[in-house]
Symmetry: C2
Subunit: 359 residues, 2 copies
């Protein structure tokens, strides 16, 4: 029996995607091999790769002047690749920080640029208003994390245009494809696949054409956006099987009606869970309501010593991975696209029972 | 029906590994989820990860003073990571080049160190004898490619000890686990997984303890061997599903009797194919026989215009991906561990028929 998997990532994959992957494992479309055995330069894999990129473009309404890259190294790899691709040595980059991932992105960038913290939420219970961002005069880019997976804090909307032509860079790992994004508002969007797009090991980078000429000479080849873009993401062997699984996930989402349709379901799922928390005296969520994440719902109990009991009893009932991130504790339910509404209902039922028992 | 897949990588995966992966896709061991959906910090995945590392240690007889890392970015990522982990800025590294991959490794390293070409085969039909290597006085390391996938050239044996204590670094992507390697002869061994270990997207790095304190400050976090080693390869989300598939492949190999057993089969498979080439006037292999690769058998015909016909007719008979690398043309049969002897027999039969028809 399938569990309800609330993991923050790697995370739940649509059941029909897994079923199709299993069915095609030994023999993809009569070709006599698994996708993972195909040469990345074979016509069969090139077809998968191109369709996958086209489906992502369609789902996200990506304008023609943006390239879509399928790379390795996850979002953490891009934490280094971004300054190397966008900033000259000795340059400055602005970071807006409203959670632990933004902080990690800035720390990694410091190896390559001078980091200016343009704004930092304190504590991580909201996102700093754009009017309060202290931007540098000559920043190579401004980096934001529209959804903070660990802290459960989200912008809930794209930032407005920036002054001048400084590019906005967004780490959308945990919200890509969960709600519409105005791509043209960004110079670069990037995401690890392991939340809304498939298995870990794939990073998607969406980059505006005019930003492809800024790379440092010493950017590692596998992250050179410009060269990768010319080579169709294939200078070296790409993570082909993850790319294929992302493609199956995109098809699944298209069949459901795309990002606009799933966004409605996501709003509903999140509202149900936040309502259950807010109407209880037993559970708390201390994020400013305007900045609550629809993907990662964090909550606590008055008695933190119950956290482990909660996670363990939920696990026994098939509600898995509800422990909060080890850096902040508490509890967290990640409600990515592939989490069915029934999973949220089951969690709420469990929470009520748990409250009765331990409240 | 399964094809015989002679792709150089991504490449054939053992049929029983694929079957098990398909069977466990929806529900791993009653846990209610696929391995690709598991949190990398869950007890279930940690068990998979640790067993996989232990099995690799056992298969390769890796001494205790070596760390085994499971990273992202493939071997091409390590082309950059190696100088950043081993050499100070302005340092020098020695490269022994006997094929296109060694050349690419050196080109990438030039972004980070001064590269000294200690020896270069010309043409790439042999490997330079160790007595002829012109080593630098103070090289941070010496880099070798014991098996050149594109050119079909192999050392066929580990290099002897180097003077002083300069570490030897070996790219064993296309020969790891195919024959015994004397790990203690090397400071670092690394390999992309997509030949003998599973799907693309995973790089295995085996590094001697005492080399973990040499990294530059600006090595990207995901490639910082020292920090990754402390974190059990998990500072960021590792490519979990590829790691699991590598684990299934290691179990398969252990059941077959390990590296020593498969090495016998590999010698036999390669001998059969080279014999078929050598006893024919129609096919040629111009690699010095002492340096012929057992993993990647390249061959040509007197009429290169027949290459495409050969690959197409073979494909129609279920013998796939026999075209040579696009940089050198000709034909190539990769005979990795998972290629059964019956596949080689079928190829030889086809080659004889093709010769009769077109010779």
């Amino acid at each position: 029996m399938r569990a309800y998997n609330f993991s923050a990532g790697p995370a739940v994959v649509p059941e029909s995607v897994l079923a199709q992957a299993a069915e095609e494992m030994m023999d993809w479309h009569g070709h006599g091999m698994s996708v993972m055995e195909m040469s990345h330069r074979s016509p069969e894999f090139l077809q998968i790769a191109e369709e996958t990129a086209a489906d992502l473009r369609e789902l996200m309404h990506i304008p023609d002047n943006y390239k879509v890259l399928f790379l390795q190294g996850g979002a953490t790899g891009q934490f280094a690749a971004i300054p190397m691709n966008l900033a000259r040595r000795g340059g400055t980059a602005d970071y807006v920080i409203n959670g632990i991932w933004g902080k990690k992105a800035a720390a990694e960038a410091e190896k390559f640029v001078t980091v200016n913290t343009a704004a930092q939420a304190d504590p991580f219970t909201y996102a700093p208003n754009q009017t309060e961002w202290q931007l540098s005069d000559k920043a190579a880019y401004v980096h934001v994390t529209p959804n903070e997976t660990i802290n459960g804090v989200a912008f809930n909307g794209d930032p407005g245009p920036l002054p001048g032509d400084v590019p906005l860079v967004g780490d959308v790992s945990s919200m890509i494809l969960s709600e519409p994004i105005n791509v043209s508002r960004y110079g670069v969007l990037y995401a690890g696949a392991q939340k809304n797009m498939g298995p870990a090991g794939l990073a998607v980078v969406i980059v505006r054409d005019d930003l492809l000429d800024r790379a440092r000479q010493d950017v590692p080849l596998i992250w050179n956006w410009s060269e990768k873009s010319v080579a169709g993401s294939m200078l070296n062997t790409p993570p082909t099987y993850s790319w294929y699984l992302a493609g199956l996930t995109y098809k699944w989402l298209k069949n459901l009606g795309g990002v606009e349709a799933i966004a409605k379901t996501n709003r509903l799922k999140a509202k149900k869970l936040y309502d259950a928390i807010d109407t209880s005296d037993f559970y708390q969520n201390n994020i400013n309501p305007a900045y609550r994440s629809k993907m990662n719902v964090v909550f606590t109990m008055a008695k933190p010593e119950l956290d482990e009991t909660f996670a363990t009893e939920a696990h026994a009932q098939g509600l898995k991975n509800l422990g909060g991130h080890r850096s902040i504790g508490g509890l967290r339910a990640s409600l990515y696209n592939a989490m069915p509404e029934a999973g949220v209902d089951a969690l709420i039922t469990f929470m009520k029972e748990f409250e009765k028992k331990h409240g």
